[in-house]
């Protein structure tokens, strides 16, 4: 074969000559989009992008079939990948997503996983009831159910007067209690996070966390205050933020159980694929519960230290319960029927 004529016989060379210009154009647009964002492209350039991307993909397919020039093959692959990233990035702007999430996605997710959340709540209540009854029966069991650091002096050894005072202390004692609030926020959100993530390992870790880490402790402390005749004061102290917080933990547990379900009963897909799908849906529960933990922390930090009137406290408890109930049951419902109606 003659050396010069070889050049003209190579189809891959011809192919490249035809298409190289559009590759270079795509490269130029991608460099602009990558360095300064899509908004730096003009309207015509934006309209060119998908066309050039698809033609790059087609060039890649052809090159894979007829060309042995490794540089061209690698280049086209990387060009297509870069264009792919620019075109298929995350879509919705942040604020729209947040509003959408709060008003629609989150309540819908809670409703969808209603069964799992109810089961998680049952675990929690079972733990609380068990802790309550066992501690009432033998006050010494308190020490094995409540860690000393979290009890912070509120144990059977303390006097009734000191227990009562702590429930109604105001700003002077806020030093200890506010920091306690902050650590409570992270401790209980750790419980919640663990309950969710360990859902991968099946339902049992979730059960253990809800039952023992949260439930028993709650039950034991309630028993202590009940024993001293302070149960309503105790409930008035813990429930204003407790309603929100326990709700959040229940959601985390429900999410964890949902994850367990995707693995144990995968349905059609493979277990891992199912886990990924279920994870994204159940993850909404987790994210929403983080917001709830934050709200609970705020109530705890601000409200609890300043308001000591027991009627106001119970008012807030009732208000929280009603609010969350209405929010979950009602929010986004109208849009759901509108979407369904629009689809048909």
């Amino acid at each position: 074969m003659n050396s010069r004529s070889a050049m003209f016989q190579l189809k891959s060379y011809e192919f490249r000559r035809e298409r190289e210009k559009s590759w270079r154009e795509l490269d130029r647009l991608l460099v602009m989009a990558e360095s300064r964002g899509l908004q730096s492209l003009s309207a015509e350039e934006l309209a060119r992008l998908p066309i050039l991307y698809r033609s790059a993909l087609s060039s890649l397919s052809v090159a894979r079939a007829i060309s042995l020039d490794r540089n061209v093959l690698e280049y086209l692959e990387s060009l297509a990948e870069r264009a792919y990233f620019i075109i298929y990035g995350a879509k919705r702007p942040f604020l729209t997503f947040v509003l959408d999430f709060i008003l629609y996605e989150f309540p819908a997710a809670v409703r969808r996983f209603g069964g799992e959340c109810t089961l998680a709540a049952a675990f929690l209540l079972l733990g609380a009831a068990t802790g309550f009854l066992l501690t009432l029966d033998d006050m010494d069991r308190y020490y094995s159910m409540v860690e000393a650091s979290r009890a912070a002096g509120r144990d059977p050894g303390a006097s009734t007067e000191s227990l009562r005072n702590e429930l109604y202390s105001v700003v002077e004692h806020s030093g200890v209690l506010s920091y306690f609030a902050a650590s409570l926020f992270t401790h209980n959100s750790l419980c919640g996070l663990l309950a969710f993530v360990l859902g991968i390992l099946g339902g049992i870790p979730v059960f253990i966390i809800l039952f023992s880490m949260t439930g028993l402790e709650l039950g034991a402390m309630t028993a202590l205050y009940y024993d001293r005749g302070l149960v309503w004061d105790w409930l008035g102290w813990v429930l204003p933020h407790g309603v929100t917080e326990l709700f959040a933990i229940t959601l985390c547990g429900g999410g964890g159980l949902a994850l367990a379900r995707t693995i144990i009963w995968p349905g059609e897909g493979t277990r891992l694929a199912n886990l990924a799908n279920g994870g994204r849906e159940a993850g909404k529960l987790l994210f929403g519960s983080l917001i709830l933990f934050f709200i609970a922390g705020m109530i705890e930090g601000i409200f609890r230290q300043t308001v000591t009137n027991i009627y106001i406290r119970f008012g807030l408890i009732a208000g929280s319960v009603i609010f969350w109930f209405v929010y979950i049951v009602v929010a986004g419902g109208a849009r759901a029927t509108r979407r369904a109606g629009g689809a048909t």
């Binding site: 298929y88 995350a90 920091y179 926020f185 991968i200 994870g279």
Partner: protein
């Protein structure tokens, strides 16, 4: 691309083939654990600097306004800390479509594992579970009994071990997915950047064809080598200017001449023009066979 062709890279590629919505498969190179750790360290230091700055500002404001020692400040600081830590990654991954400053520096990014668009829920879930992945091993190492409080003593150690495995998932998993990636269905890959060089077939020195540079190969001679050898030759020819390139070319030229049975009377030829011509002819021959569906990967023995 064949497995052999991958040897041409300096290190074996951990590639994952993803089907784009257009139906063309793209081979993305999965990021190694080291790359991800480096990106995370980089992001972590930026985050630490931001948090340190905020702590400083909060402390200064507090002392100026006379709030020192107030637990309010501490509460606000703890909550702020948590929020910023969580939202740093989420914000960047949403805004920059899957990359953070640290990831950009290392050259990796997040994508959906099935080639679809990177969903916002996925970004949230993969970042929130990072808290669990970091906290669990720390808690398990330093205080295994508090991971499952109230569990019998014999359960504490295996459960701690199990959770350490859980956090070591990136090392075990083939595509280095961590738990957050599994739950979100995401993958972390390298962002490729290849430069398009000229076609070797056309870049040979122009000039009058003389007997000295006019090399002709028979079809039998061109049927010996395969695609792998062709692409190795391509790489060496492109490395013009690198040290030892001339010697490498000479060595290769000798081997080629021996293998194909080059005319002994014209044995002494300049290496580069010879190999450039051989490359063009060889590629033409192999591509011709490719069009008929005959793909010869390696040389005949």
């Amino acid at each position: 691309m064949t497995a052999e062709a991958d040897f041409l890279q300096n290190a074996p590629r951990n590639a994952r083939e993803i089907l784009t919505p257009e139906g063309v498969p793209l081979r993305f190179e999965v990021a190694s654990v080291g790359d991800r750790a480096a990106a995370f360290l980089y992001d972590g230091s930026i985050l630490a600097a931001v948090l340190a700055g905020i702590t400083f500002i909060v402390a200064m404001t507090a002392s100026l306004l006379g709030f020192t020692g107030s637990a309010w400040i501490r509460t606000i600081w703890v909550l702020l800390f948590f929020m910023i830590r969580t939202s740093y990654f989420i914000y960047h991954e949403l805004r920059a479509k899957g990359s953070t400053p640290g990831k950009r520096r290392v050259g990796i990014r997040v994508m959906d594992q099935h080639g679809g668009p990177l969903r916002t829920e996925a970004v949230f879930i993969r970042n929130i579970t990072r808290e669990a992945e970091l906290m669990i091993p720390m808690v398990a190492i330093f205080a295994p009994e508090s991971v499952y409080p109230g569990a019998p003593a014999w359960a504490a150690l295996p459960s701690a071990a199990w959770m350490l495995i859980f956090s070591a998932l990136p090392f075990i998993h083939k595509s280095h997915m961590r738990a957050g990636d599994l739950l979100a269905g995401t993958l972390v890959v390298h962002t490729p950047r290849t430069i398009l060089y000229g076609d070797l077939v056309s870049s040979r020195t122009e000039g009058p064809e003389s007997d000295a540079t006019n090399f002709i190969f028979t079809q039998q001679q061109l049927d010996i080598y395969g695609i792998y050898e062709l692409q190795v030759l391509e790489r060496v020819l492109r490395e013009r200017g690198l040290p030892n390139n001339a010697e490498t070319l000479r060595a290769i030229a000798e081997k080629v001449k021996l293998k194909i049975g080059w005319n002994k009377e014209r044995w002494d030829v300049p290496a580069r023009p010879f190999l450039e011509t051989f490359y063009a002819a060889q590629r033409g021959r192999l591509e011709h066979k490719l069009l008929f569906g005959r793909r010869q990967e390696r040389k005949k023995k």
